[in-house]
Amino acid sequence: MAQLSCSDIQLNFGGVRALSGVSFDVQQGELFAIIGPNGAGKSSMLNCISGLYHPQQGKVFFEEQDVTRLPPYERTRRGIARSFQNIALFKGMTVIDNLMIGRHLHQQAGLITGGLYYGPAQKEEIKHREYVEGIIEFLEIQSLRKSIVGTLAYGFQKRVELARALALEPKLLLLDEPMAGMNLEEKEDMVRFILETNQERGITIIMIEHDMGVVMDISNTVCVLDFGKRIAGGTPDEVQQDPHVIKAYIGEEDREEP
């Protein structure tokens, strides 16, 4: 069975239907892209997977377990991590502390051991600091280690957000527009990091992205949403040929002869 399986997801906000009957499967190790015009329900779909929204209908299965009703932190515990479209870092903290929050679920120290610090809590902090340093090296942000995140440039904040999600050691990573607002070089770096995450670390990735060049180049499977419905899916080549997709993106050809 697929690693993540969404079946017949329906999500309403009052009278507005954000998602209706969306189903798809994501295989272990896949780089899965969700595309679609603005307002198609892509971010809502990610929120349903990560637990910020609870769909009125349909089910989300992760590793063959029903996670539809679980709160976000429970899903994170099972291995689902995400980044946000509008950067949602902890702005007052340093890069290292942001990543250390990613280690939250892997740490044992409670209030008392933490406050006493010397002994188990310190040992644990050092152990996880080593892991975090590995990620800092992987994403090439060594020089930003001690910077306050809120003061960093946009492109670096996006990178720190990816780093924070990786610090969770996830099995499935949801990326909401990881390349939005970046210039070419920043995009190239980001693509490299995403590919390395996917191929070397073996983390399944679901990515929302508007840059079609990137999506068609790197993803294994593409799912196209439009007005809350899944209108097409398959390999990038299949999707590009799909008449529904062409219609959603470019509009219908005017067939009437003058």
Binding site: P72, F84, M93, D97, G102, H104, G115, Q122, L168
Partner: protein, 347 residues
Amino acid sequence: MRCGDFKTSYAADMTIFESGSARIMLGLFLGALFTLPLYTPGYLLDIINRIGIAVIGAVGLNILTGFTGQISLGNAAFMAIGAFSSGYLATRFGLPFYFCIPLAGLITAFSGMFVGIPSLRIKGLYLAMATLAAHFIVEFIITKWESVTGGVNGLSIPIPKLGSFAIDSDARLFVLIFVIAVMAVLFAKNLFRSKAGKAFIAIRDQAISAEVMGVNLLKYKLLSFGISSFYVGVAGALIAYQAKIISPETFPVTVAIDYLGMIIIGGLGSILGSIYGAIFITLLPELLRMGTSALSGSFPELVNKLAAMKELVFGLLVIIFLIFEPAGMAARWHSIKNYWKLYPFSH
């Protein structure tokens, strides 16, 4: 000038103090602090004791409001709970202070967690209103529950004894208060180097992404209310031992405002700031009083008016800090320190 400060281990990189000299300075400062009772007159020592208690309370409130971002106006009520539970345990069961103070802290911690339950749903000003309501409920209970609290007559607290050694003078109280204060500050400082403390800050900065990062919001908000109230409760218990008689009027809502003032002026989300703020707000009325009594000789008709100036100066200072140094005295201290670190080659 300090330079070439390289770290060779993660443990060294995560210490509280950047250098050995800072640690030595702090050691010297603490040493000097504990010699204070030897030569300080009683009246001053009483003020210093109040500063020590305020430090504990302000650090506690800062954990909740400055670090976790949950505004609380229930501070005075929690202080009262701490004071009356310690007083009750001491008078009714004759427990010694070293049981009364931590037990009072625990009782206050549980009350704080109870008051904190709505914090998952409401935040900001609404939470401030909810905690303010809690203040008046607590005040009402303390006034009416005469069998425990003595009602409006209050409760007189026995002198704390360590075996046969009575802690009956300001100097002896000083040692008790400041030993607890130093432990409280160290504990808080460590807390924010470890898992729970970082989770608190994460909740303050971005509650939604904290939850997605695996932080259980309700659990950690309640933990923050709990630990914060523990501190405030301990401060309340110490106030009881210092004041010897406590009544509901010892803890009016203005006490809560004073404490908020301390952490805003000192620096929200800064342990050092809580200490500065506690010193500042406790000393301010004393300094103003000294100023007025010094002036009373030459301008006797001004004295009454100057006494009223106290509130005005307090309010004015809070506004000035909000405008010119929103990050508080702690931030100003850091910029001064950084300036001198590179002197005379500052950029």
